[in-house]
Amino acid sequence: MKILLIEDEQPLRESIIAYFTGEGNICETAVDFKSAIDKIAVYNYDCILLDLTLPGGDGLEILRRLKKMNKNDGVLIISARHSLEDKLDGLNLGADDYLIKPFHLSELKARVMAIVRRKSYSGSNVIVFNEISIDTLAMKVEVAAHAVALTKKEYDLLVYFIANRGKVISKNALAEHLWGDEIDLVDHFDFIYTHIKNLRKKLMEAGCPDYVKSMYGVGYKFESQ
């Protein structure tokens, strides 16, 4: 997976690169408008992570140029601009998704994976992780070719886990992913535990090893033994 990160904030850039690098991913960066334009003109990317406020120009302009070049790169806007107009503008211009700062790296990764999956020429709507295969169109999960019935939340959890395989995902990120804004309500995440427990149980009953590990109380990690 080849990714271009257009972001001027260095610490944020470093974190994102660190999170995305590995598993055969290539992550390039552009720190301002001009270098971003240069890169998109020459290379093709599976996904471009685009910050809107850049030194030297507006991120939306990059999006316009990209579409003018008839490029099919996936675009995920990451912006501190919380206005609905910006979001709509971005999506209307052909961005695939819009993520508002601050975000969790795991959320970013999950969204990027979803975009890449949608964009991929192989048309693959199937996520495979060892013996687990997920048909994202039908939202069906199979373990070793046997269907496993999951609830909506369990399904979301599984897709999120697999997108962030091998990474520790904070409970906070999980909660925000599953409940969105309403999580504001309960600052203790005990109820995430219930969903994870159920998912784990269903997967193990279907014959999976225990992929989900609790990490020092702060989050979970989904990985092969």
Partner: protein, 417 residues
């Protein structure tokens, strides 16, 4: 009391007093002049009689002509007659009626015989004249008063209109509105100055307010990037090493604080936008019943965890709103009802054509009147105190009313369309 009424009253009372006073004086003076003139005529008549007696040695014929009557009377010795003028009645024989008259009584010696002479003249013409003058004066007075009143009512009303225009705008003045104060053109210096002052003041206040808003907006925006950095660094940190559970707890607390801070930020940004009317632009018909049902499904899990019992009675209702705002509004109302509830409490949601009411059990005390103000929260609340302020603003944006009531131990939030 209105200035106009007060002014009208003062001018009219003053005019009436002055006019009555001058009227009385006028009447008295004219009366005096005419009587004096009549008296002079009577004296002239006496002089003619005296001249006649001196020439012919006898009295002229007593007679009755030209509204004048002369009577002679032989005086007995010892009779004394005081010379003087009196108001008497005058018998007009041709018309056979009594008229007011002026009588002059004097005495004269004709060849050593004393005669009393009484000359009487009709006063009717003089009286008519006085009456006429009085009528005219009264007429003029009444006309003057009416004119004054009309002038006051219409001209002054018109003159003061710029004042009332600008006053009304000051009353309707709302910081968050985009409308500027528009002053009516006037050629009256005082009002022009007032208009200019009001316009300048409102512009200044709005500018200050806008700067404050922009400050909130900018500050919140600028905070988002460091927040994003903290968040991403935390995400990176937890990948790096094996932590103890104690360290894990610390990290989790930082996570929570960051997420709280970013939510606070988003709420502030939203409030600033709402107050600057930056969101309402795109409205669409919202089926409120469907939206509520969908939200209730989303909240179902949280209600189950708390063991909150939900009762709902929903009728169809469509509103024209921005979907994003409608979402936030319903979210806020429901999350409040759940958050401020106790385990095993109740929530009731009722929707009909006029109103949406969300009531919940909870703290057995009524919220204070400041519940809709920013950063209001009671001691036990874990929220930020912005939810209700945002809900209130959203309602205000669409002209709905959001009211709070506390009845039978239940907090009721009522949204009236």
């Amino acid at each position: 009391m209105k200035l106009l009424v007060k002014y009208n009253r003062v001018t009219i009372i003053a005019s009436i007093i002055i006019l009555v006073f001058t009227g009385v004086i006028y009447y008295a003076v004219i009366h005096f002049i005419l009587t004096d003139r009549l008296d002079k005529d009577l004296v002239l008549e006496e002089e003619e009689i005296v001249a006649y007696v001196k020439t012919f040695g006898k009295l002229p014929l007593a007679g009755n002509f030209k509204d004048q009557k002369v009577v002679y009377r032989l005086m007995k010795p010892g009779d004394s007659l005081e010379r003087g003028f009196f108001n008497t009645a005058y018998l007009n024989e041709s018309e056979n009626k009594h008229e007011p008259g002026r009588t002059f009584v004097t005495s004269l010696n004709v060849n050593g015989v004393p005669y009393g002479i009484t000359i009487t003249k009709s006063r009717v013409q003089a009286e008519d004249l006085v009456r006429m003058i009085l009528m005219i004066t009264l007429g003029v007075t009444v006309m003057l008063l009416i004119t004054l009143m009309l002038i006051n009512r219409f001209l002054l009303g018109k003159l003061w209109r710029p004042f009332y225009t600008v006053l009304k705008q000051m009353k309707d003045f709302n910081l968050a509105d985009k409308d500027e104060v528009v002053a009516e053109d006037t050629n009256i210096d005082e009002f022009r100055e007032l208009n200019l002052a009001v316009i300048a003041m409102s512009a200044r206040v709005k500018q200050d307010y806008k700067e404050l808003k922009n400050f909130t907006d900018n500050a919140s925006h600028e905070m988002l990037t460091p927040l994003a950095v903290i968040n991403s660094k935390l995400d990176t940190l937890i990948q790096t090493e094996t932590f103890t559970n104690v360290q894990g707890e610390v990290i989790e607390d930082i996570y929570l604080a960051v997420s709280r801070l970013s939510r606070l930020n988003q709420s502030l940004l939203l409030l600033a936008k709402l107050e600057n009317n930056m969101i309402a632009a795109d409205q669409e018909p919202i089926n409120l019943k469907e939206l509520i049902e969908q939200k209730l499904r989303q909240f179902q899990e949280l209600m189950q965890i708390q063991g909150v019992v939900l009762s709902q009675k929903l009728e169809d209702k469509e509103l024209s709103m921005n979907r994003y705002l409608a979402d936030i509004l319903i979210n806020n109302l429901f999350s409040n009802a759940i958050r401020h509830n106790y385990d095993g409490g109740e929530i009731a949601v009722h929707l009909n054509n006029q109103e949406l009411s969300v009531s919940n059990t909870g703290n057995p005390e009524k919220l204070s009147d400041q519940a809709f103000e920013r950063f209001y929260k009671n001691a036990a609340s874990e929220g930020m105190g912005l939810g209700l302020a945002i809900s209130y603003q959203i309602c205000a944006q669409y002209g709905f009313k959001l009211a709070y009531d506390f009845k039978d131990g239940k907090h009721i939030f009522l949204m009236i369309f």
